[in-house]
Protein backbone atom coordinates (compact mmCIF):
# COMPACT_ATOMS: atom_id res chain seq x y z
CA UNK A 1 0.00 0.00 0.00
CA UNK A 2 1.53 3.34 -0.98
CA UNK A 3 1.50 6.41 1.26
CA UNK A 4 -1.47 7.98 -0.51
CA UNK A 5 -3.51 4.85 0.03
CA UNK A 6 -2.52 5.06 3.69
CA UNK A 7 -3.62 8.70 3.72
CA UNK A 8 -6.97 7.69 2.23
CA UNK A 9 -7.37 4.81 4.68
CA UNK A 10 -6.62 7.02 7.67
CA UNK A 11 -8.85 9.82 6.44
CA UNK A 12 -11.93 7.60 6.10
CA UNK A 13 -11.41 5.64 9.31
CA UNK A 14 -9.74 7.85 11.89
CA UNK A 15 -11.47 11.07 12.99
CA UNK A 16 -8.44 12.01 15.09
CA UNK A 17 -6.17 11.86 12.04
CA UNK A 18 -8.68 13.87 10.02
CA UNK A 19 -8.72 16.54 12.72
CA UNK A 20 -4.91 16.67 12.70
CA UNK A 21 -4.97 16.90 8.93
CA UNK A 22 -7.17 19.98 9.25
CA UNK A 23 -5.25 21.64 12.07
CA UNK A 24 -1.70 20.87 10.91
CA UNK A 25 -1.68 19.40 7.42
CA UNK A 26 2.11 19.11 7.02
CA UNK A 27 2.52 17.35 10.39
CA UNK A 28 -0.32 14.92 9.61
CA UNK A 29 1.20 14.09 6.22
CA UNK A 30 4.64 13.63 7.70
CA UNK A 31 3.21 11.29 10.36
CA UNK A 32 2.38 8.83 7.60
CA UNK A 33 5.55 9.37 5.63
CA UNK A 34 4.32 11.80 2.96
CA UNK A 35 6.54 14.74 2.04
CA UNK A 36 4.25 17.78 2.51
CA UNK A 37 5.09 19.60 -0.71
CA UNK A 38 3.03 22.74 -1.38
CA UNK A 39 1.13 20.89 -4.14
CA UNK A 40 0.15 18.02 -1.91
CA UNK A 41 -0.76 20.28 1.03
CA UNK A 42 -2.92 22.30 -1.32
CA UNK A 43 -4.67 19.16 -2.64
CA UNK A 44 -5.39 17.96 0.88
CA UNK A 45 -6.72 21.34 1.95
CA UNK A 46 -8.97 21.47 -1.10
CA UNK A 47 -10.35 18.06 -0.13
CA UNK A 48 -10.93 19.26 3.44
CA UNK A 49 -12.67 22.37 2.16
CA UNK A 50 -15.04 20.29 0.06
CA UNK A 51 -15.97 18.21 3.14
CA UNK A 52 -16.72 21.37 5.09
CA UNK A 53 -18.79 22.65 2.19
CA UNK A 54 -20.89 19.47 2.23
CA UNK A 55 -21.22 19.09 6.00
CA UNK A 56 -20.89 22.56 7.43
CA UNK A 57 -18.04 21.31 9.60
CA UNK A 58 -15.20 18.87 9.34
CA UNK A 59 -15.45 16.87 12.53
CA UNK A 60 -17.66 13.84 12.63
CA UNK A 61 -19.86 13.43 15.68
CA UNK A 62 -17.83 12.70 18.77
CA UNK A 63 -18.19 8.96 18.90
CA UNK A 64 -15.87 8.13 21.73
CA UNK A 65 -16.30 10.67 24.48
CA UNK A 66 -19.91 11.74 24.21
CA UNK A 67 -21.77 11.50 27.45
CA UNK A 68 -25.28 12.25 26.36
CA UNK A 69 -27.49 10.74 29.03
CA UNK A 70 -30.32 8.56 27.90
CA UNK A 71 -33.71 10.13 27.98
CA UNK A 72 -35.11 9.04 31.30
Amino acid sequence: MNQFEILYQQAISDPTFLALLASDTPAALQSIGIDPTPEIVSSVQNALASIVALNGQLSPPNITAAATPFVS
Binding site: E5, I12, A47, N55, P69, F70, S72
Partner: protein
Protein backbone atom coordinates in the same frame (compact mmCIF):
# COMPACT_ATOMS: atom_id res chain seq x y z
CA UNK B 1 -25.94 14.31 38.64
CA UNK B 2 -23.29 16.55 40.19
CA UNK B 3 -23.87 17.20 43.88
CA UNK B 4 -27.18 15.37 43.80
CA UNK B 5 -25.45 12.06 43.08
CA UNK B 6 -25.61 9.76 46.06
CA UNK B 7 -22.21 8.41 46.92
CA UNK B 8 -21.37 5.18 48.68
CA UNK B 9 -18.21 4.75 50.64
CA UNK B 10 -16.48 1.43 50.10
CA UNK B 11 -17.09 0.48 53.71
CA UNK B 12 -20.86 0.47 53.43
CA UNK B 13 -22.34 -3.01 53.39
CA UNK B 14 -24.77 -4.16 50.75
CA UNK B 15 -27.91 -3.56 52.80
CA UNK B 16 -26.98 0.03 53.61
CA UNK B 17 -26.15 0.66 49.99
CA UNK B 18 -29.58 -0.54 49.01
CA UNK B 19 -31.19 1.94 51.37
CA UNK B 20 -29.40 4.69 49.50
CA UNK B 21 -30.84 3.34 46.25
CA UNK B 22 -34.31 4.06 47.59
CA UNK B 23 -33.44 7.75 47.55
CA UNK B 24 -32.14 7.70 43.99
CA UNK B 25 -35.26 8.38 42.01
CA UNK B 26 -34.20 9.08 38.45
CA UNK B 27 -32.41 6.94 35.93
CA UNK B 28 -29.13 8.79 35.86
CA UNK B 29 -28.80 9.00 39.65
CA UNK B 30 -29.67 5.34 40.04
CA UNK B 31 -27.10 4.34 37.43
CA UNK B 32 -24.46 6.47 39.16
CA UNK B 33 -25.13 4.83 42.49
CA UNK B 34 -25.18 1.31 41.05
CA UNK B 35 -21.91 1.82 39.19
CA UNK B 36 -20.24 3.39 42.20
CA UNK B 37 -21.41 0.50 44.32
CA UNK B 38 -19.91 -2.02 41.90
CA UNK B 39 -16.53 -0.28 42.03
CA UNK B 40 -16.76 0.32 45.79
CA UNK B 41 -17.48 -3.34 46.47
CA UNK B 42 -14.32 -4.30 44.63
CA UNK B 43 -12.18 -1.78 46.46
CA UNK B 44 -13.76 -2.31 49.87
CA UNK B 45 -10.94 -4.44 51.17
CA UNK B 46 -7.30 -4.16 50.21
CA UNK B 47 -6.35 -7.26 48.27
CA UNK B 48 -4.04 -8.22 45.47
CA UNK B 49 -7.03 -9.17 43.34
CA UNK B 50 -8.69 -5.79 43.87
CA UNK B 51 -5.48 -3.90 43.17
CA UNK B 52 -4.86 -5.62 39.84
CA UNK B 53 -8.51 -5.60 38.81
CA UNK B 54 -8.96 -1.89 39.55
CA UNK B 55 -5.83 -1.19 37.55
CA UNK B 56 -7.25 -3.20 34.62
CA UNK B 57 -10.57 -1.39 34.92
CA UNK B 58 -8.71 1.92 34.84
CA UNK B 59 -7.34 1.03 31.42
CA UNK B 60 -10.82 0.32 30.08
CA UNK B 61 -13.10 2.84 31.79
CA UNK B 62 -13.04 6.00 33.85
CA UNK B 63 -13.53 4.26 37.18
CA UNK B 64 -14.44 7.52 38.90
CA UNK B 65 -17.28 8.02 36.44
CA UNK B 66 -18.16 4.38 35.88
CA UNK B 67 -21.82 5.02 35.08
CA UNK B 68 -20.99 7.13 32.03
CA UNK B 69 -19.79 4.06 30.19
CA UNK B 70 -23.26 2.58 30.47
CA UNK B 71 -25.36 5.70 30.02
CA UNK B 72 -23.75 7.52 27.11
CA UNK B 73 -25.79 7.56 23.95
CA UNK B 74 -23.43 5.29 22.01
CA UNK B 75 -23.61 2.47 24.55
CA UNK B 76 -26.02 -0.41 24.46
CA UNK B 77 -28.84 0.72 26.77
CA UNK B 78 -28.39 -2.25 29.08
CA UNK B 79 -29.38 -0.26 32.15
CA UNK B 80 -32.06 1.88 30.55
CA UNK B 81 -34.14 -0.77 28.80
CA UNK B 82 -35.31 -2.51 31.99
CA UNK B 83 -36.18 0.93 33.39
CA UNK B 84 -38.19 1.80 30.30
CA UNK B 85 -39.87 -1.59 30.33
CA UNK B 86 -40.97 -1.22 33.95
CA UNK B 87 -42.21 2.30 33.28
CA UNK B 88 -44.20 1.03 30.32
CA UNK B 89 -45.78 -1.65 32.51
CA UNK B 90 -46.43 0.29 35.72
CA UNK B 91 -46.14 3.97 34.81
CA UNK B 92 -43.37 4.26 37.39
CA UNK B 93 -40.38 2.25 38.61
CA UNK B 94 -39.26 0.68 41.85
CA UNK B 95 -35.87 2.42 42.16
CA UNK B 96 -34.45 -0.18 44.55
CA UNK B 97 -35.33 -2.98 42.12
CA UNK B 98 -33.91 -1.10 39.16
CA UNK B 99 -30.74 -0.30 41.11
CA UNK B 100 -30.28 -3.97 41.88
CA UNK B 101 -30.78 -4.86 38.21
CA UNK B 102 -28.21 -2.24 37.22
CA UNK B 103 -25.73 -3.46 39.81
CA UNK B 104 -26.14 -7.02 38.52
CA UNK B 105 -25.80 -5.98 34.88
CA UNK B 106 -22.70 -3.87 35.51
CA UNK B 107 -21.02 -6.80 37.25
CA UNK B 108 -22.00 -9.13 34.41
CA UNK B 109 -20.54 -6.66 31.96
CA UNK B 110 -17.21 -6.55 33.81
CA UNK B 111 -17.25 -10.35 33.87
CA UNK B 112 -17.70 -10.53 30.10
CA UNK B 113 -15.08 -7.83 29.45
CA UNK B 114 -12.45 -9.85 31.30
CA UNK B 115 -13.53 -12.90 29.32
CA UNK B 116 -13.34 -10.93 26.04
CA UNK B 117 -9.91 -9.53 26.81
CA UNK B 118 -8.56 -12.96 27.68
CA UNK B 119 -10.13 -14.61 24.60
CA UNK B 120 -9.07 -11.84 22.21
CA UNK B 121 -5.47 -11.97 23.42
CA UNK B 122 -5.52 -8.40 24.73
CA UNK B 123 -3.08 -7.48 27.45
CA UNK B 124 -4.58 -8.56 30.75
CA UNK B 125 -2.65 -9.63 33.80
CA UNK B 126 -3.26 -13.17 35.00
CA UNK B 127 -3.95 -11.69 38.45
CA UNK B 128 -7.13 -10.11 37.04
CA UNK B 129 -8.71 -13.33 35.78
CA UNK B 130 -9.88 -14.58 39.21
CA UNK B 131 -12.00 -11.41 39.46
CA UNK B 132 -14.43 -13.20 37.16
CA UNK B 133 -15.60 -15.04 40.29
CA UNK B 134 -16.06 -11.73 42.11
CA UNK B 135 -18.10 -10.16 39.30
CA UNK B 136 -20.12 -13.27 38.57
CA UNK B 137 -21.22 -13.73 42.17
CA UNK B 138 -22.40 -10.10 42.25
CA UNK B 139 -24.16 -10.56 38.94
CA UNK B 140 -26.18 -13.42 40.40
CA UNK B 141 -26.78 -12.32 43.98
CA UNK B 142 -29.29 -9.48 43.47
CA UNK B 143 -31.72 -11.79 41.69
CA UNK B 144 -32.08 -13.99 44.78
CA UNK B 145 -33.69 -11.03 46.53
CA UNK B 146 -36.62 -11.13 44.10
CA UNK B 147 -36.98 -14.67 42.80
CA UNK B 148 -37.35 -17.91 44.70
CA UNK B 149 -35.71 -21.03 43.41
CA UNK B 150 -38.96 -22.19 41.83
CA UNK B 151 -39.48 -18.96 39.89
CA UNK B 152 -39.61 -19.17 36.10
CA UNK B 153 -37.03 -16.39 36.14
CA UNK B 154 -34.30 -18.97 36.62
CA UNK B 155 -35.15 -20.56 33.31
CA UNK B 156 -34.34 -17.25 31.65
CA UNK B 157 -31.25 -16.99 33.83
CA UNK B 158 -30.06 -20.32 32.44
CA UNK B 159 -30.96 -19.44 28.86
CA UNK B 160 -29.85 -15.85 28.24
CA UNK B 161 -26.29 -15.58 29.64
CA UNK B 162 -25.64 -18.99 28.06
CA UNK B 163 -26.34 -17.41 24.66
CA UNK B 164 -23.71 -14.78 25.33
CA UNK B 165 -20.98 -17.23 26.32
CA UNK B 166 -21.91 -19.64 23.51
CA UNK B 167 -21.60 -16.78 21.01
CA UNK B 168 -18.24 -15.80 22.51
CA UNK B 169 -16.99 -19.37 22.16
CA UNK B 170 -18.27 -19.70 18.60
CA UNK B 171 -16.86 -16.36 17.51
CA UNK B 172 -13.40 -17.28 18.76
CA UNK B 173 -13.32 -20.20 16.32
CA UNK B 174 -14.04 -18.10 13.23
CA UNK B 175 -11.49 -16.50 10.94
CA UNK B 176 -14.08 -15.26 8.47
CA UNK B 177 -17.78 -14.47 8.90
CA UNK B 178 -20.71 -15.15 6.66
CA UNK B 179 -23.85 -13.06 7.00
CA UNK B 180 -25.50 -15.94 8.83
CA UNK B 181 -22.59 -16.24 11.24
CA UNK B 182 -22.73 -12.53 11.93
CA UNK B 183 -26.44 -12.75 12.70
CA UNK B 184 -26.35 -15.95 14.73
CA UNK B 185 -23.06 -15.38 16.55
CA UNK B 186 -21.66 -11.83 16.58
CA UNK B 187 -25.01 -10.12 16.91
CA UNK B 188 -26.06 -12.41 19.76
CA UNK B 189 -23.11 -11.72 22.03
CA UNK B 190 -25.20 -9.26 24.01
CA UNK B 191 -28.11 -11.67 24.55
CA UNK B 192 -27.33 -11.73 28.27
CA UNK B 193 -28.52 -8.14 28.33
CA UNK B 194 -32.09 -9.43 28.02
CA UNK B 195 -31.89 -10.97 31.49
CA UNK B 196 -32.92 -7.84 33.43
CA UNK B 197 -35.81 -7.45 30.98
CA UNK B 198 -36.87 -10.99 31.89
CA UNK B 199 -36.60 -10.04 35.56
CA UNK B 200 -38.96 -7.12 35.07
CA UNK B 201 -41.44 -9.24 33.13
CA UNK B 202 -41.44 -12.06 35.70
CA UNK B 203 -41.62 -9.76 38.72
CA UNK B 204 -44.66 -7.93 37.37
CA UNK B 205 -46.24 -11.03 35.86
CA UNK B 206 -45.95 -9.71 32.32
CA UNK B 207 -43.96 -12.47 30.66
CA UNK B 208 -46.24 -11.98 27.66
CA UNK B 209 -44.12 -8.91 26.86
CA UNK B 210 -40.73 -10.59 27.00
CA UNK B 211 -40.75 -12.09 23.51
CA UNK B 212 -41.44 -8.72 21.88
CA UNK B 213 -38.78 -6.90 23.90
CA UNK B 214 -36.24 -9.68 23.35
CA UNK B 215 -36.91 -9.66 19.61
CA UNK B 216 -36.52 -5.88 19.40
CA UNK B 217 -33.33 -6.01 21.48
CA UNK B 218 -31.90 -8.68 19.18
CA UNK B 219 -32.63 -6.52 16.14
CA UNK B 220 -30.99 -3.55 17.80
CA UNK B 221 -27.94 -5.62 18.79
CA UNK B 222 -27.18 -6.59 15.20
CA UNK B 223 -27.30 -2.87 14.29
CA UNK B 224 -25.12 -1.99 17.26
CA UNK B 225 -22.59 -4.74 16.47
CA UNK B 226 -22.36 -3.70 12.82
CA UNK B 227 -21.74 -0.13 13.96
CA UNK B 228 -18.90 -1.39 16.15
CA UNK B 229 -17.45 -3.38 13.25
CA UNK B 230 -17.70 -0.30 11.04
CA UNK B 231 -15.96 1.95 13.57
CA UNK B 232 -13.20 -0.62 14.07
CA UNK B 233 -12.68 -1.85 10.50
CA UNK B 234 -9.26 -0.24 10.06
CA UNK B 235 -7.99 -1.31 13.48
CA UNK B 236 -9.41 -4.81 12.96
CA UNK B 237 -7.76 -5.05 9.54
CA UNK B 238 -4.40 -3.98 10.96
CA UNK B 239 -4.72 -6.40 13.87
CA UNK B 240 -5.84 -9.29 11.68
CA UNK B 241 -9.13 -9.53 13.57
CA UNK B 242 -12.11 -10.97 11.75
CA UNK B 243 -15.51 -9.39 11.17
CA UNK B 244 -18.28 -9.84 8.66
CA UNK B 245 -17.51 -6.40 7.20
CA UNK B 246 -13.88 -7.33 6.55
CA UNK B 247 -14.91 -10.69 5.10
CA UNK B 248 -17.25 -8.92 2.69
CA UNK B 249 -14.51 -6.44 1.82
CA UNK B 250 -12.14 -9.25 0.84
CA UNK B 251 -14.81 -11.03 -1.19
CA UNK B 252 -16.17 -7.96 -2.98
CA UNK B 253 -12.95 -6.03 -3.63
CA UNK B 254 -11.49 -6.03 -7.14
CA UNK B 255 -8.21 -7.86 -7.68
CA UNK B 256 -5.50 -5.82 -5.99
CA UNK B 257 -7.97 -3.41 -4.39
CA UNK B 258 -7.27 -2.61 -0.73
CA UNK B 259 -9.93 -2.80 1.96
CA UNK B 260 -9.79 1.00 2.25
CA UNK B 261 -10.30 1.47 -1.48
CA UNK B 262 -13.26 -0.92 -1.42
CA UNK B 263 -14.73 0.86 1.57
CA UNK B 264 -14.57 4.15 -0.28
CA UNK B 265 -15.82 2.75 -3.59
CA UNK B 266 -18.82 0.83 -2.31
CA UNK B 267 -18.33 -0.45 1.24
CA UNK B 268 -19.49 2.68 3.01
CA UNK B 269 -22.68 2.79 0.96
CA UNK B 270 -23.19 -0.93 1.61
CA UNK B 271 -22.86 -0.42 5.36
CA UNK B 272 -25.20 2.57 5.21
CA UNK B 273 -27.83 0.55 3.38
CA UNK B 274 -27.69 -2.37 5.80
CA UNK B 275 -27.74 -0.14 8.85
CA UNK B 276 -30.72 1.79 7.54
CA UNK B 277 -32.69 -1.39 6.89
CA UNK B 278 -31.84 -2.85 10.30
CA UNK B 279 -32.69 0.35 12.15
CA UNK B 280 -35.99 0.57 10.28
CA UNK B 281 -36.81 -2.99 11.36
CA UNK B 282 -35.81 -2.22 14.96
CA UNK B 283 -37.95 0.90 15.04
CA UNK B 284 -40.91 -1.01 13.59
CA UNK B 285 -40.54 -3.66 16.30
CA UNK B 286 -40.13 -1.02 19.00
CA UNK B 287 -43.24 0.81 17.86
CA UNK B 288 -45.35 -2.05 19.14
CA UNK B 289 -43.90 -1.74 22.65
CA UNK B 290 -45.55 1.61 23.41
CA UNK B 291 -42.43 3.08 24.97
CA UNK B 292 -41.83 6.66 23.96
CA UNK B 293 -38.36 6.85 25.54
CA UNK B 294 -37.21 3.81 23.60
CA UNK B 295 -38.42 5.37 20.36
CA UNK B 296 -36.63 8.63 21.18
CA UNK B 297 -33.45 6.73 21.96
CA UNK B 298 -33.56 4.79 18.68
CA UNK B 299 -34.19 8.01 16.79
CA UNK B 300 -31.11 9.55 18.40
CA UNK B 301 -28.95 6.53 17.57
CA UNK B 302 -30.17 6.53 13.97
CA UNK B 303 -29.52 10.23 13.58
CA UNK B 304 -26.03 10.00 15.10
CA UNK B 305 -24.99 7.10 12.88
CA UNK B 306 -26.49 8.58 9.73
CA UNK B 307 -24.53 11.79 10.28
CA UNK B 308 -21.37 9.78 10.89
CA UNK B 309 -21.60 7.56 7.81
CA UNK B 310 -22.74 10.36 5.52
CA UNK B 311 -19.77 12.43 6.60
CA UNK B 312 -17.44 9.48 6.10
CA UNK B 313 -18.82 9.00 2.59
CA UNK B 314 -18.12 12.68 1.90
CA UNK B 315 -14.57 12.28 3.22
CA UNK B 316 -14.05 9.31 0.92
CA UNK B 317 -15.33 11.26 -2.08
CA UNK B 318 -13.16 14.25 -1.24
CA UNK B 319 -9.98 12.23 -0.80
CA UNK B 320 -10.48 9.81 -3.67
CA UNK B 321 -8.67 12.18 -6.01
CA UNK B 322 -5.56 11.96 -3.87
CA UNK B 323 -5.23 8.29 -4.72
CA UNK B 324 -4.58 9.54 -8.25
CA UNK B 325 -1.94 11.95 -6.92
CA UNK B 326 -0.16 8.96 -5.44
CA UNK B 327 -0.21 7.18 -8.79
CA UNK B 328 1.03 10.30 -10.57
CA UNK B 329 3.79 10.78 -8.01
CA UNK B 330 4.97 7.23 -8.40
CA UNK B 331 4.94 7.40 -12.19
CA UNK B 332 6.69 10.80 -12.30
Amino acid sequence: MGSSVLRISPQQPLRSSRNLFLRAVNFQETAEVAAQRAVADLSSSPSILAKHTLRWMGTRFDVLRAAEYFTQLQSLPLLAMPWWLEESIRGTVDPGFQADLMYSTINFYYFTRILDDAMDGHAIEPAVLPAMHFFHSRFVRPYFRYFGLESQFWGHFDRLPAMTVEAAAAESTLHEFSAEEFLTISARKAAGGVLPLAAVCVRYDRTDLLGQWESMFGMFCRWHQMRDDFLDWNEDAKAGSASWLLTEAKQRAHAGESVAAWMGREGLAWVRSIMKAWMDETVAAAAGLHCEKLMTYLGQRDEEFTRLIDRTIHVAEAFRGLLGVGVASRSA
